[in-house]
């Protein structure tokens, strides 16, 4: 069943004052796909994610998830339907120990439904998830106050919070920005593993080389509009795409 559509974005538009942050964007993502979204700074990628996940209400247009209209629903309801997202500026619960960050998704109605998880037992599940993402359980790292961890760990903690929600659709907003090469190299196989296990992933990324390793389709945005959508190699050869990237550095 890889053919059914998990997410459908229909003619989504968002204006902030006079700025067209997202302009008439449509997108279809099928279950099991790994879709990349690229575009120069300020082209509306983050806003598109915010629109899909309910953090920003659209000016016009619709978002359908598994055929259900989720436009205008609050973020926590959308998350509970199975859409998890990371934040571009890795947002975590800074004053809590790292592993306690995962208690929140583990207490959400969505995960409670999946498996009970009593007080204390949730701690163990949290540590398991973090261990998989490189927070070694026998080190001090998972128990440290999140705010004291290095940036790369915060990014992965953000990802861990998503995984704890047991999502069906994972949306990553520049997960790799600010991560060390070694961390990227360690995280990439994890994403591939989640993908193999059936997770649908949408990934906004400036690090094109890594993105093209995993994504089987890429959408390009510029000035709020979708200017290309297709297999990575083909898309990068298109004239509009090369023009959009002219003058903006393409990161390694």
């Amino acid at each position: 069943m890889t053919e059914d559509v998990i997410l459908e974005v229909r003619r989504l538009t968002k204006t902030f004052g006079g700025i067209m942050a997202v302009c008439d964007v449509s997108l279809e993502v099928r279950r099991g796909e790994f879709v990349g979204i690229i575009g120069p700074n300020g082209s509306g990628k983050t806003t598109l994610i915010n629109l899909i996940t309910g953090f920003v209400k659209p000016t016009s247009g619709k978002v359908l998830y598994k055929g259900q209209d989720i436009t205008g629903k609050p973020p926590y309801e959308i998350a509970c339907l199975g859409i998890a997202r990371t934040f571009q500026m890795a947002r975590t619960l800074h004053k809590l120990p790292a592993f306690k960050n995962l208690i929140v998704p583990l207490c959400s109605p969505r995960v409670r439904k999946f498996r009970g998880g009593k007080y204390g037992e949730r701690d163990d599940i949290a540590i398991d998830i973090l261990d998989d993402l490189g927070f070694e359980r026998d080190s001090f790292v998972p128990y440290k106050i999140a705010g004291t961890l290095p940036h790369g760990y915060l990014k992965r903690l953000d990802l861990a919070r998503c995984i704890a929600l047991r999502p069906e659709l994972l949306i990553l907003d520049e997960l790799f920005s600010g991560m060390a090469m070694s961390e990227v190299a360690a995280t990439l196989p994890m994403l591939e593993k989640f993908h193999r296990e059936g997770l649908t992933i949408i990934m906004v990324e400036h690090r094109l080389r890594e993105l093209f390793r995993v994504a089987n389709r890429v959408m390009v945005m510029n000035f709020g509009q979708k200017i290309a959508d297709g297999p990575p190699q083909k898309v990068m050869e298109m004239e509009e795409v090369q023009k959009a990237y002219l003058g903006t550095e393409v990161e390694e």
Partner: protein, 337 residues
């Protein structure tokens, strides 16, 4: 110190805290005592104080300290979810009038009016504040500040609930011991109860909301539902204090909605140190007796009171409790740089 040599203070942990704030390694019964002492000693003292002070003027001061302590705890609990309240008087007044009205109009006995005042007052406050929990920061605070003043005004102009005269000759406690031990018991229950709640998974969500509510929403948790539950718990503690006080005075009037019940608890939390609940309680047990002791100063009382408060804050901006806690868990020594 020799010329040219520099020294600096070094702080060392007395060190049985391991890994995180929540995990301890206990090696001996001495360690256990070290952990238990700061909890057991104040509890024992609080339980003994009513007996020691029985029959004196200071018994009443102890009662007031507990009342303001409950309001301070209620403030600190809301603050731990990121709700900055300026309206503890609303909680206090709701409980006080609810209990008073049930006693006055329906003749309910104390053992019913106090629980009913607690729950009823808390429900009213929650219903009033839930519509505004979406307001951020200072906007929420201003609503909490205005509501009790508004109700005091309504009671006066509409002449409801006794109007300016208040409700008089309400039932008294069968014995002074009941009042004082209800106050002390409630204070301990709220203190340890709130601390426990914030250590549990439920509390992680509350602390998370204060840290970054967008993260909590992204994790699939309805922050407004959790804020509403927190308001109910905080309001219940405040309303209980109000109901208790109503029967202590055998009277309830507009004064229970006055700014005093907002400002003094807030000052107590700031003095004691927010975020730990123990600081809130400690602050009340310093401020209330202090304000009583200064009564003899007459007109200078408020000025002196303010000066002492400012002085304490300047000396210990972190709050007295956090200072004491640090001194207990760490020791300092001078080391050569």
């Amino acid at each position: 110190m020799a010329e040219g040599e520099k020294y600096r203070k070094e702080r060392l942990d007395r060190g049985i805290k391991a890994r995180s704030d929540t995990i301890y390694v206990l090696a001996s019964s001495r360690d256990l005592l070290y952990l238990l002492m700061p909890r057991a000693l104040p509890v024992a003292l609080l339980i003994l104080l009513p007996i020691l002070l029985h029959g004196t003027y200071w018994e009443k001061v102890l009662f007031y300290s507990c009342i303001f302590g409950l309001l301070a705890l209620s403030w600190d609990f809301m603050n731990s979810v990121g709700l900055v309240s300026l309206g503890q008087a609303l909680f206090f007044g709701a409980g006080a009038y609810f209990a008073g009205a049930l006693n006055h109009y329906l003749g309910w006995p104390i053992f019913l009016t106090i629980p009913a005042g607690t729950i009823g007052g808390a429900l009213i406050c929650t219903a009033l504040l839930v519509p505004v929990v979406r307001l951020r920061g200072v906007y929420f605070s201003i609503v909490t500040l205005i509501l009790p003043l508004l109700f005091a005004h309504l009671i006066e102009t509409l002449e409801i609930l006794g109007g300016t005269h208040g409700l008089l000759s309400l039932s008294a406690y069968p014995s002074g011991w009941i009042a004082i031990y209800l106050a002390v018991g409630a204070l301990l229950l709220a203190l340890f109860g709130f601390r426990k709640i914030l250590d549990e998974d439920f509390g992680m969500i509350l602390r998370g909301i204060r840290d970054d509510d967008r993260v909590v929403m992204a994790a699939g948790v309805n922050i407004y539902w959790y804020k509403a539950q927190s308001i109910f718990l905080a309001a219940a503690v405040g309303s209980f204090a109000g109901a208790l006080m109503t029967h202590y005075y055998q009277f309830v009037g507009r004064s229970v909605l006055a700014l005093d019940y907002t400002i003094l608890p807030l000052a107590a939390v700031v003095l004691g140190g927010p975020g730990s609940f123990a600081g809130a309680a400690l602050g009340s047990f310093i401020l209330v007796p202090l304000s009583e002791a200064l009564r003899a100063m007459g007109g200078l009382r408020m000025a002196l009171y303010g000066l002492i408060l400012i002085g304490a804050l300047a000396a210990l901006p972190e709050g007295i409790f956090h200072y004491l806690q640090r001194r207990y868990h760490q020791f300092e020594r001078m080391v050569k740089v």
